[in-house]
């Protein structure tokens, strides 16, 4: 009796011991895996997610790594991350320099996604934000040297809105203009067509995941002129109108024509008759 009791106690001990071992092993594995996942969750700078991809953190929870988006991309630009690559294993991405998104109107990659990792709310490709183009190297971009290029501006599928040309004075020649490409995040989808089209050996305009490319103003900042426009009036006490201490008949138009002389025509110092001028100066001396 006592013997069998002892035996069952021993068995129970062994059972609990074994279970503890298993649980500890699995737990350790889990901690390691969690840490690895944490490290693997940062998206490398040159891997761009397909259109409609949720923010990276949510994306890694939503994407089941099935590759249906890869298959339904008519331009075959998408890849699935492989073990050993920096991008999370099995998740889709494209490389703008070699294969940018061609911005299909029907967005087949999103339609193929079974889990909403590519958000099915996205119906207009122009609303997608895959990343953001940045003119990363002003030294290499030939527009900054005063050469006409504008390839990125012209290839842009949202031409004239995502990239505009800012005309600046060419100080080197003194008489020409610089046609500087400027990217606007309000319109840029991050498709990467500009990066592929860049004529340089290494592109001077590159698409990065938005969180890497975009700065952010402190939340408390307000741009006075925008607030004023929104409110329809100045939000602070308006400045008293500036009084210019000018002679009679002269006024100053701020941010307009500048100095305005309102003298009557006959009072101009120079009349059509040169003798009048001479006579006037004689009169002044008296």
């Amino acid at each position: 009796m006592a013997d069998s009791e002892q035996k069952s106690l021993q068995n129970r001990r062994q059972f609990l011991g074994n279970m503890l071992k298993t649980v500890c092993g699995v737990g350790l594995f889990g901690v390691g895996l969690g840490m690895y996942a944490n490290r693997a969750s940062s998206l490398p700078a040159q891997t761009i997610r397909p259109p409609g991809a949720l923010p990276e953190e949510e994306f890694l929870g939503a994407c089941i790594r099935c590759g249906l988006c890869v298959r339904d991309c008519p331009y075959d630009i998408l890849f699935l991350g492989k073990l050993g690559e920096e991008v999370a294993t099995g998740t889709p991405y494209f490389i703008a320099r070699t294969g940018p998104c061609e911005m299909c109107e029907d967005i087949p990659c999103v339609a193929a996604c079974p889990t909403n990792a590519l958000d099915h709310e996205l119906t207009e490709i122009e609303d997608s934000r895959m990343g953001l183009a940045v003119v990363v190297d002003q030294e290499a971009c030939i527009a900054f040297h005063g050469l006409r290029c504008e390839v990125c501006f012209n290839i842009c599928p949202i031409r004239g809105r995502a990239i505009t040309l800012d005309l600046q004075h060419n100080a080197r020649s003194g008489k020409h203009a610089l046609f500087i490409p400027v990217v606007h995040s309000a319109a840029c989808t991050g498709c990467g067509l500009c990066e592929r089209a860049c004529i340089l050996e290494e592109a001077a305009i590159k698409v990065f995941p938005t969180h890497l490319a975009k700065g952010e103003l402190g939340k408390h900042y307000r741009l006075g002129w925008e607030e004023k426009e929104r409110a329809g009036e100045a939000l602070v006490t308006p400045d008293a109108e500036h009084r210019y201490n000018l002679p009679e008949g002269v006024r100053y138009d701020l941010q307009g024509e500048g100095l305005i002389i309102e003298e009557k025509a006959e009072k101009t110092p120079f009349s059509s008759n040169p003798l009048d001028t001479l006579n006037n100066s004689l009169l002044d001396e008296q």
Partner: protein
């Protein structure tokens, strides 16, 4: 005593080589055929099935989704599309009917690697095996479901050898072969049937799906058993056999009811006495409740 070098000879003598490898060959055909369906698209432009085992689309109409991976993504907070839900229902119904772990033995590509390791083990006479509990897989399954809750990310899919192998073959392998080599060496040198039989949470999940599945292997002809033990040696989950094969005296039915059984049919192939066969689950239960059976179990009638 069983002579391991002569494993399967009796079956080959009785049934011929083809007969003694029938289910094994059919399984390989199934495993490779499924892979081929996914590969003729990228290789030859013939798009029958797109995607991989996580989610696929057959002929642009039939969606199939892996319930384990979709569950993980839902636990991390995603709402799946209807196609994914339809796909999961189809998969669950299928495996409920044919047995959950049919996934392991008839679909999963890792099975070919672990079977190779088991075969080498037998050929090389490697007996060493470490004491890992077969329940480890359920803890692992729990882990794969807890991690998305905690991290909001499908962490298991970063290293899952099952999806990685299939995706690797269909989409490009990368360094995934390292993990597969690890699984192979683990099975060969560390633990017999170590990966599939002890650790793999995917198999554990499908085992639970098929807890009450209808298609089962049975030892209907168990009175013919001559105790050669070959089925126990060849079976990747040998503990499932005994209750069915040796349970006549205790009144246990001849059907292998454990959901650990992968329905691989190796026991059917290896047996020279035609003891095993496929059959329904229900037939077994009625047979269990025969008069003799109840008497043998000690039930007062």
């Amino acid at each position: 005593m069983l002579d391991r070098s002569k494993l399967g000879r009796e079956a080959v003598r009785v049934k011929g080589w083809l007969g003694a490898h029938k289910w094994l060959l059919l399984r390989r055909l199934s495993q490779l055929g499924i892979l081929a369906l996914f590969l003729v698209g990228p290789w030859f432009g013939l798009w029958i099935v797109k995607g991989n085992l996580a989610a696929s689309m057959t002929l642009d109409v039939l969606p199939l989704t892996d319930p384990h991976v979709l569950l993980q993504s839902m636990l991390s907070g995603v709402t799946p599309q209807n196609s994914a839900i339809i796909g999961v229902v189809l998969v669950l119904v299928f495996y409920f009917l044919v047995g959950g772990r049919v996934y392991c033995s008839w679909v999963c590509p890792v099975n070919m690697i672990t079977d190779l390791a088991a075969w080498l083990r037998r050929k090389l006479g490697i007996r060493a095996t470490s004491q890992i509990s077969r329940n480890t897989r359920y803890w692992m399954l729990g882990l794969t479901l807890v991690l998305p809750l905690v991290t909001g990310s499908i962490v298991w899919e970063l290293v899952n050898p099952v999806s990685m192998t299939f995706r690797g073959i269909v989409f490009g392998v990368g360094a995934a072969w390292v993990i597969l080599l690890g699984v192979f060496l683990f099975d060969l040198l560390v633990a017999k049937d170590g990966w599939c039989g002890h650790i793999c949470p995917v198999g554990a999940f499908y085992g639970l799906v098929g807890k009450k599945s209808l298609l089962k292997v049975n030892a209907a002809n168990r009175q013919a058993c001559d105790d050669c033990n070959e089925c126990f040696v060849i079976c990747p989950e040998p503990h499932v056999i005994r209750p069915a094969l040796k349970g006549a005296k205790r009144g246990t039915g001849p059907v292998i009811l454990s959901s650990d059984c992968t329905n691989c049919g190796r026991c059917i192939d290896i047996c020279g006495k035609h003891v095993f066969g496929y059959g329904g689950r229900h037939a077994a239960e009625t047979r269990t409740e025969t008069h003799e059976g109840m008497v043998n179990r000690g039930v007062r009638v």
